[in-house]
Symmetry: C2
Subunit: 291 residues, 2 copies
């Protein structure tokens, strides 16, 4: 057990899911089937020094990011977000009140834009650094929800934006691709999807592992000022990576804001760099246990 | 704005709740009405040095407490818990893996006892202290859900156990009163209920404020080794405090594990000590902002 992925495998083995839990831990959201509806549930915790720097960033932007990363998880399932619960551990001090109000204001502004209501929370103070944990609920869109498992050899792979260099501000100010995912689901059948939080190479491997296929990547869109390496391994792009059939893929080729980056294969992962095909490993940023 | 209560008032004013949100922030759970069901949602964050001491307590007990405090919130609504999402910030070091497994094992054991499935989470490591945030979902029991608002002058007030001295271990090992609440809801109409997390005097005032009535307390059951002062002001008893009509109350007088502590009045809060009635203030532990 060397990282979050191993921990999720371990966690999955400890529990048997009841029949109404359609999807347990390990995808972007859990899915529960209740009274004819598919409810989506996700949670993300953000910590000072890891996900933001409280001394360098306005509280509104921090709060906004905490909401945005959760919205991105619902987007990755082609879901419609609706309710949020917010827990915070606020560092005790003179600015605690303005910090709390700024955080909440940033969360709420973004939540409003996506039709999300903050229905509850837990506000704490302590002598440690700022921690924010948001749980976001949603439901499957009219065309159903999309998991990481379902890509097949021959499918085309797309991303919703150029990648890399997110630390220069994008990771705080990105717009979660909730609307884009729902629009795509109206036009094509999304066979597998994930949001790019850990870097393209790592997140691609999540799709491949869950789908049981491979991929050949040959066209990665790179952000200005970044590099192919950055586009593959920087985290927190929060674009979507998805697989569709070639017939559906052809419908998307001329669509603004979409890039075909490669195709699914039977097994393995490769990338074509300067005309040469080479192995592509999951070199993106990973949550490692230990030092 | 001087504490969590003031923050919740502020938070409530920032948002208009959509019609399906039956109950927003400020009670033990939020309540959402969807497809004919009343879903309960609550979240609690626990921090090292505030809610437990990671160097003095086994990870299993810490994980158990994190689940238990959330179960207690569902109990306070007379709800049936069903799903949990778990976020953790684990201090990076040699013991990170065994800490993670111990925490999860403690959570899961208690979750199993209450029919709760852990359906998702977010596992992080950092250089800060241990933080655990759990969001628990449930639904109203067969007799509906119970809020803090609904007590009236003349109602009788009960608690489900003796109070005070929780820091000697009870706050880690208490059994959330989920079953007791559901059993009570079969026998009587619970008009208002809360779980005692901040101390009887403080939590009583939450009931009184939300219900718009007063109370006269004359019979507080005190734990061995604690005192009346401790029973009034120590936090983390995690017993239930509830109000019922006198007719219903009479049915409960001989019931094991229940103590009638007083009655609701028109306004104000008093306590009878050594035959003398005196004002009872919310002196229990409060979450204060600032130093």
């Amino acid at each position: 057990m060397s990282g979050e992925i191993a921990y999720i495998h371990w966690l999955r083995k400890q529990q048997t899911m009841p029949p109404d839990v359609v999807l347990g831990p390990g995808d972007d959201c859990a899915v529960v089937h209740q009274a004819g509806r598919f409810q989506l549930l996700t949670t993300d915790m953000l910590m000072d020094g890891v996900d933001f720097l409280v001394n360098e960033v306005a509280p509104q932007r921090i709060g906004r990011k905490a909401m945005a990363v959760n919205l991105s998880d619902v987007a990755a399932m082609a879901g419609v977000p609706n309710y949020a619960l917010v827990s915070v551990a606020l560092p005790r001090g003179q600015n605690t009140q303005s910090l709390a109000e700024g955080l909440f204001s940033g969360m709420k502004n973004l939540a409003d834009q996506f039709g999300v209501t903050i229905i509850g929370g837990d506000t704490n103070t302590w002598h440690g650094p700022l921690v924010i944990s948001i749980t976001l609920l949603g439901e499957a869109g009219p065309n159903g929800y999309v998991t990481r498992a379902g890509a097949q050899a021959g499918d085309w792979l797309f991303v919703t934006g150029p990648l890399g260099g997110s630390l220069r501000g994008h990771h705080l100010d990105f717009t979660p691709r909730v609307r884009e995912a729902l629009e795509l689901a109206e036009v094509v059948r999304l066979k597998a999807m994930i949001d790019l939080s850990d870097g393209l190479s790592t997140d691609l491997h999540h799709i491949l592992e869950e789908s049981g296929c491979g991929a050949r990547i040959d066209n990665v869109p790179v952000n200005d000022g970044s590099s192919l390496e950055g586009a593959l391994t920087d985290g927190e792009d929060f674009e979507l990576l998805f697989a569709v059939s070639p017939v559906d893929g052809a419908k998307l080729l001329d669509r603004k804001g979409l890039w075909k980056i490669g195709e699914c294969t039977g097994h393995g992962a490769t990338i074509v760099v300067a005309g040469a095909e080479q192995p592509l490993t999951a070199r993106g940023w990973q949550h490692h246990f230990g030092n």
